[in-house]
């Protein structure tokens, strides 16, 4: 149950097991394709995602009236949906990644400190409790009210919303590690607190935190899209999936593709992230392994 650091062979087999899980592998592949497409957006996008044309609400190619010049059709302003989708996933993924990284990083430090210094533990955990009682959307509204709307505000809000959960998960993992003999031994040979935390505590907690963050990534994207949908997110003309879905809402009755294509993309990203996270937990969580 312990000593995962030097256990290299076991970890290799963990990845092998991950690749044996067909569904997870497929999810990983889809996610990889989406990430690659987003990264390569400037080269892949057939049009300028912000250029308006006089052909609004053109249907996608699978509709008879569709044109190959605009494979996914155009939105209400006559902009190419495929190009906006590529740039939009970029922003959405970046938003998810950054907020999870920032929130996860801070949360992990807070959780470890809480487990390491038992005296400040009750205080930190009560603060975390308070933070946990705010829904992420409400936090987003508050942050937007302070910093104004925009991607930065959303990232801040999502990062803040991620901190308490991660702190909790880290703390519970760290408390177990703190009870191990090697921590005691490390202290006995005179290692500093910083070294103990960095080299032993952090490395032993990271797998559970990582799994949690993978699962959290999907949620964060979903909440981010919701905030964007409410008009708190990306500023026009930048493309963001939640915002694109919101803009398509008005045309739902006769040009459903404007809203459904970005919505489906969000769905796909979140689903794949969750499946990969699930599979990672299965292979990395020692308790589930048995």
């Amino acid at each position: 149950m312990n000593a995962t650091i030097e256990d290299v062979p076991q970890r290799r087999s963990a990845f092998r097991r991950l690749f044996r899980d067909g569904a997870a592998l497929l999810a990983l592949a889809v996610l990889a394709v989406i990430v690659a497409a987003a990264l390569l957006a400037p080269w892949l996008a057939p049009h300028d995602p912000f250029a308006t044309t006089r052909q609004p609400l053109l249907p996608p190619v699978w509709n008879e009236a569709g044109q190959w010049a605009f494979p996914f059709g155009t939105d209400g302003q006559g902009r190419d949906i495929l190009s906006r989708l590529l740039y939009g996933s970029r922003l959405t993924l970046l938003m998810g990644l950054l907020s999870v990284a920032i929130g996860g990083g801070i949360g992990m430090v807070v959780g470890m400190l809480s487990a390491f210094y038992r005296r400040i533990d009750p205080f930190i955990m009560r603060v975390v409790d308070v933070l946990l009682s705010f829904p992420a959307i409400l936090l987003g509204l508050a942050v937007a009210a302070i910093f104004g709307t925009g991607v930065t505000a959303i990232i801040i809000a999502l990062a803040i919303a991620t901190i308490p959960d991660v702190a909790r998960v880290t703390r519970s993992a760290a408390v177990v590690v703190m009870g191990q003999d090697f921590m005691e031994a490390g202290r006995a040979i005179g290692l500093s607190d910083a070294t103990l935390i960095r080299r032993y505590l952090a490395l032993n907690c990271i797998s559970s935190v990582f799994v949690f963050l993978t699962l959290r990534f999907g949620q964060v994207i979903l909440i981010g899209a919701a905030l964007s949908f409410l008009g708190l997110g990306a500023k026009p003309p930048s493309a963001e999936l939640g915002m694109m879905a919101a803009q398509g809402r008005d045309f739902l009755f006769f040009a459903p593709h404007v809203a459904t294509i970005p919505s489906l993309t969000i769905f796909l990203i979140v689903l794949c992230a969750n499946m990969v996270g699930d599979a990672l937990r299965d292979v990395l969580d020692p308790r589930l392994r048995r």
């Binding site: 308006t52 006089r54 302003q77 500023k235 008005d250 009755f253 459903p256």
Partner: protein, 534 residues
């Protein structure tokens, strides 16, 4: 799939409707009907002097009457509670002769004293009416006898009769106002309108019942007698597609609040009728704060006006249902200067680029223009919500083509008004209803009206003087001339980007006789005297 489900629901509802109609026919002939009007927003209250929302006026026109009424052409003043009136030669005294036999909803007789009370309450500083200025500079309003009211002005006010057709000038009952206090127009109302106040549930619905004794309707209607439906329910439905579904399924008989995108679908529906007013008296525009560095140059503003493609906006965003605007007020409005028709700025992207080049704003490799290291990126304050977001984005798209980076900042309506009263933006988006050139110009271009509604900071002594001259004019020619000059001035200075004029559109079931849309303050049903089942 969603459409089939919707159609099924529609069919079911329709079937239900037929049964109900059949039941109604058996139970009571002719008048036993109630109609539901769906709309987007409610008013905070229904006090004519304290509410300026269109939502309030819609109801006030129905529950109360004005001295004079406005014809469909938005130019002809017709009798209302006054059967006739005279204006003194100096233009300072208006004498109104009231109709006989007018009664309030509670049965009390309406007299000149009630008119005086209502108009005086409007201008009383204690009322704090935001629209008191619309009454002109009043010296006194007196009841000469029971049926004669004298309206005395300190200075002539050529707009007075038009202003008196608005819902702010309706006649209300003093006893009811005093009895209800702060709850007047919330818990109750007492007017002389074709409909009487029944009950208001804020943000839900407002019920009105027919006033059976009514026979003093304005002559613009064929029917000047009692209203022809028993009950009108104004129902709030915030979501536009839900409102569309409500008229399509017969839950609402008539409304002006359906999205433009669905009008063609609704037109194709054999049970529905879509009608439209001839002219449009609600204009959407983006204004420049002309003393801000970024947009202080006339050439820059002109270039931005040239860059925006109003025809494309009307076509792309509104499916051709609105009138692309190149003028700041409708060209059909009273006192519009016809000489300006050919001088209006029309879309010309090339010329816009040239103007910017000449003004020293050079295009850089990133596709935007810079001058002295500063990017041409004006800050635009806008309302959040689909209408303005779409409009702003369309403008942003057009301006990108000439190298202008419009920085859109959208705010929820609750804070947007406050934000737009500040000096921190270059461009703002706004829309407004008006009756005439004078009405629009006096509101937006008086230097005394800064910071709002003159958010442009247009401070020009000559404009003020011309506006005064127009306001005090004793004959229509002088007035038209003065206002025409102001129109020319502001159009030339490119202080607004006009976007579109919105015509009044009504969608109604064919079970109702065709209702003619009115443009007064954007209230398409006006007094509702022509609403009846066929």
């Amino acid at each position: 799939m969603a459409t089939t489900a919707l159609k099924a629901t529609a069919r079911r509802l329709l079937a239900g409707g037929v049964c109900l109609a059949a039941a109604g026919l058996v139970a009571a002939p002719a008048l036993a009907q109630s109609i539901t009007v769906v709309r987007e927003v409610d008013s905070d209250r229904y006090d004519p002097h304290r509410s300026t929302a269109r939502a309030a006026s819609e109801v006030l026109f129905m529950v109360a009457d004005t001295l004079v009424s406005l014809d469909y052409d938005m130019q002809t003043v017709k009798p209302g509670l006054a059967e006739r009136w005279e204006v003194s030669d100096d233009g300072k005294t208006y004498t109104f002769h009231l109709k006989d036999g007018v009664k309030f909803c509670d049965g009390k007789k309406m007299t000149a004293a009630d008119v005086v009370y209502s108009l005086k309450r409007w201008i009383d500083p204690a009322t704090k009416s935001p629209v008191a200025w619309r009454a002109g500079e009043v010296e006194d309003i007196v009841a000469v006898d029971d049926r004669t009211v004298e309206y005395r002005l300190k200075a002539p006010f050529s707009e007075l009769l038009y202003q008196l057709t608005q819902s702010f000038a309706v006649v209300i009952d003093q006893a009811t106002v005093e009895k209800l206090g702060g709850d007047f127009g919330v818990k109750g109302f007492n007017g002389t309108g074709p409909y009487c106040w029944v009950e208001w549930r804020p943000r839900n619905d407002l019920k009105l019942a027919r006033n059976p004794d009514y026979n003093w309707g304005p002559p613009i209607y064929e029917n000047t007698g009692p209203a022809q439906v028993e009950e009108i329910v104004w129902k709030i439905v915030p979501e536009e597609n839900t409102r569309m579904a409500a008229v399509a399924t017969g839950q609402s008989e008539i409304t002006q609040y359906v999205p433009y995108s669905t009008l063609n679908t609704l037109r194709a529906n054999p049970q529905l009728l879509v009608s439209q007013s001839d002219a449009a008296f609600w204009t959407y525009f983006a204004g420049f704060k002309i003393d801000r560095e970024m947009v202080s140059e006339e050439a820059v503003r002109q270039a931005m006006v040239l860059a925006v493609d109003q025809d494309a906006i009307a076509e792309n965003l509104y499916f051709g249902e609105v009138e692309p605007a190149h003028s700041y007020i409708s060209q059909a409005a009273l006192d519009w200067d016809k000489d300006l028709d050919d001088k209006l700025i029309r879309t010309d992207v090339e010329k816009a680029g040239k103007l910017l080049d000449e003004a020293g704003w050079k295009m850089e490799s990133d596709g935007f223009r810079y001058k002295n290291g500063k990017k041409l990126s004006p800050v635009a304050y806008s309302f959040a919500g689909s209408t303005w977001q779409k409009l702003m984005e369309a403008m942003q798209g057009d301006l990108r083509k000439v190298g202008v980076d419009l920085d859109i900042q959208a705010f929820d309506a609750t804070i947007a008004w406050g934000k737009m009263a500040t000096q921190e933006f270059d461009v703002f988006g706004m829309s407004y209803p008006y009756i005439s050139a004078g009405d629009a110009l006096n509101l937006y271009f008086r230097s005394a009206n800064t910071p709002t509604p003159n958010r442009m900071n247009w401070k020009d002594p000559e404009t003020d003087e011309l506006l005064d001259r127009g306001k005090a004019a004793l004959d229509p020619e002088t007035r038209a001339q003065a206002y025409g000059k102001v129109l020319e001035k502001v159009h030339q200075a490119a202080v607004w980007i006009p976007l579109y004029h919105e015509p009044m559109k009504l969608v109604q079931t064919k079970k109702l006789a065709p209702v003619k849309p009115h443009n007064i303050y954007g209230c398409g049903l006006y007094k509702g005297l022509d609403i009846k089942f066929q």
